[in-house]
Amino acid sequence: MAQKALIQKPNLFLAFVQQQGALLAFVALLIFGALRYEGFFAVYNFAELLRYNSMFGLVALGMTFVIMTGGIDLSVGSVAALTSVLAAQLSPHGLWIALFLPVLAGMVLGFVNGLLIAKLKILPFIATLAALLAARGLAFLAANNQSVSVATDTGFTDFGQGNILGVPTPALLMFAAFLIGVLVLRFSSFGRHVLAIGGNEEASRLMGLSVDQIKIGVYTLSGALAGLAGVILASEFGAGQPTEGSGWELAAIASVVVGGTLLTGGKGSVGTTLVGVLLLGLIFNVLNFENGYGLISLSSYWQSVIRGGFLLVVVILQTRLTKGQKI
């Protein structure tokens, strides 16, 4: 078999669209919204948009690292549900306890995912599917099948509902996490090795990278970030909700793909995942405004149809754009 240049230099225009397509769409949608709706281009709207989407952003950040190794984590939604319950139950003990212990719980679940995948060599989607079930079960058990309200007198709700310098606290946290994520991917061995493993696992092993540890690392990271998202959920909405979070994994995967990270691993970017998250959030924001405008009326059920259609378009675009570049 001839194996000349395996990755041909891609068409520059296509490459730009692939890398920055999400950003272009985001800007276009912003302009559209600003021109069309009153109150769209307002601080309040954007603040609430960011606050709500910070949960998805954190989950998508973890998912980005997982997907870059060539894996997938389906358990993020139920892990968040579980930690939202735990956070609510711990909220009488103050913010810090209600923040750290649930995140730790998320980490432990992610760590178990990583062990199953790296050590027992179970396919990522099966292992995390099982974790999805188990975390959901644990959430129902812990919550006794009902939503758990949080203590309002310990400052726990300020975390999700408050602002720092006018920016919603969860959004700040998300931006900080993404900034760290960008730096980790670019400037740490861990980040580079994540990409190497997704690019060629066997070669990475031969180059002496600790493949198993890195895999365990990304799933632990994903679990921790999902755990954090759960804490924000409880704090923002004032309740731990064992039924919440279903479909989050899909929203996260969609954001990652929209951001241009290859689903097969080995190539991707953290920053564009954030754009993907915000783009998805903005689409629903615009739909809400459109509904308020009164011309069309879309029930909330349309959301999942649109989300599915969006994922479809993006995935098809990605396969078209990366054609001829695949190994």
Binding site: I126, L132, L133, R136, L138, L263, Y301, S304, G308, V315
Partner: protein, 318 residues
């Protein structure tokens, strides 16, 4: 059932059978009223829809794919059927007849759509079927506006409540379908092609196997069977709720396939194993329920079973 893997196939089937036998013995000793016809019927009726969907899933997985959209397709067919048999402008018989046919065909068409994405655009099956997993239930909800429809139409509900010869209809249907698919795998050219594609797609292609057509068919069949299962569920419940019908079915079906000994990487298949796998999962749920263990724990137990089944499969393969 593939004769090809007779030795391992036997070993795997044996393992699952042993687990099933152990569960039955356990219940015979520790669960009151376990050994009576009513209990048997309850368990079989509950497992029938899982088995029907899992049979289609078995075919999909045998080609090396996966179908996450089955639950959503059940919801779509469950949403469409009442619109037909409750439609006053149609003669009742025609309404019911259409209600049996159109929703199933619609689900089958959505299944073909999955297959189209996978073969035409070379999208990974898990992502391609994720699209309808999300959008499919949304479509069902939009169609029904999210409302619950209750009904009482014994002609239609025969599919979930009928008892020809005293046996639940859907249980007979389940056995018939399992036997049919097992026969298809064993005796037909289509069955060989399914196994060949799952075993080595490149080699199959070079041997003239019409890979795309076979894959389309497999996802189409999975869609048809999901549609059928959707009808059974609403017939049993005397109501259709797009939010609930088929929820988490993809997990149950995949679990049944995995526990039954079909390789999740494709190329090896055990249709009767899927039946046994589904029975094991059902019996565990029943046992836990009978012992007063909450539903939540059943979820965790299911997770553990999936991991154990897949892990033991991997160990046996290496």
């Amino acid at each position: 059932m593939a004769r090809a893997s007779s030795r391992e196939g036997f070993g795997q089937k044996y393992g699952a059978l042993l687990a099933l036998a152990a569960l039955i013995v356990f219940n015979m000793i520790f669960t009151r009223y376990f050994l009576n016809l009513q209990t048997l019927y309850v368990n079989f009726t509950q497992v029938a829809t899982i088995v029907i969907v899992a049979t289609g899933m078995t075919l999909v997985i045998a080609t090396g794919g996966i179908d996450l959209s089955v639950g959503s397709l059940m919801a779509i067919s469950g949403a469409l059927a009442p619109m037909l048999f409750l439609n006053e402008s149609l003669p009742p018989i025609l309404g019911v007849a259409l209600a049996f046919v159109l929703p199933v065909l619609t689900a089958g068409a959505f299944g073909l759509f999955n297959g189209f994405l996978i073969t035409r655009y070379a999208i990974q099956p898990i992502i391609a079927t994720l699209v309808l997993f999300i959008a499919g239930r949304g479509i069902a909800q939009v169609v029904t506006n999210g409302n619950l429809t209750t009904f009482s139409n014994m002609t239609f509900q025969f599919i979930g409540r009928g008892r020809p010869l005293g046996l639940p209809f859907q249980v007979l249907l389940m056995f018939a379908l399992v036997a049919l698919i097992a026969w298809v795998i064993r005796a037909t050219i289509f069955g060989r092609y399914v196994l060949a594609i799952g075993g080595n797609e490149a080699a199959a292609k070079l041997s003239g196997v019409p890979v795309s057509r076979v894959k389309l068919a497999v996802y189409g069949i999975s869609g048809l069977l999901s549609g059928l299962a959707g009808l059974i569920v609403i017939a049993i419940n005397s109501s259709s709720d797009a939010n609930q019908v088929g929820l988490n079915m993809e997990l149950d079906a995949i679990a049944a396939v995995a526990v039954g000994g079909t390789a999740l990487t494709g190329g090896k298949v055990n249709v009767f194993g899927t039946l046994i796998g589904a029975l094991i999962i059902q019996l565990i749920r029943y046992t836990l329920l009978a012992k007063g263990v909450p539903d939540a724990v059943a979820l965790i137990v299911k997770a553990v079973i999936i991991i154990l089944a897949v892990y033991s499969q991997r160990v046996r393969q290496s």
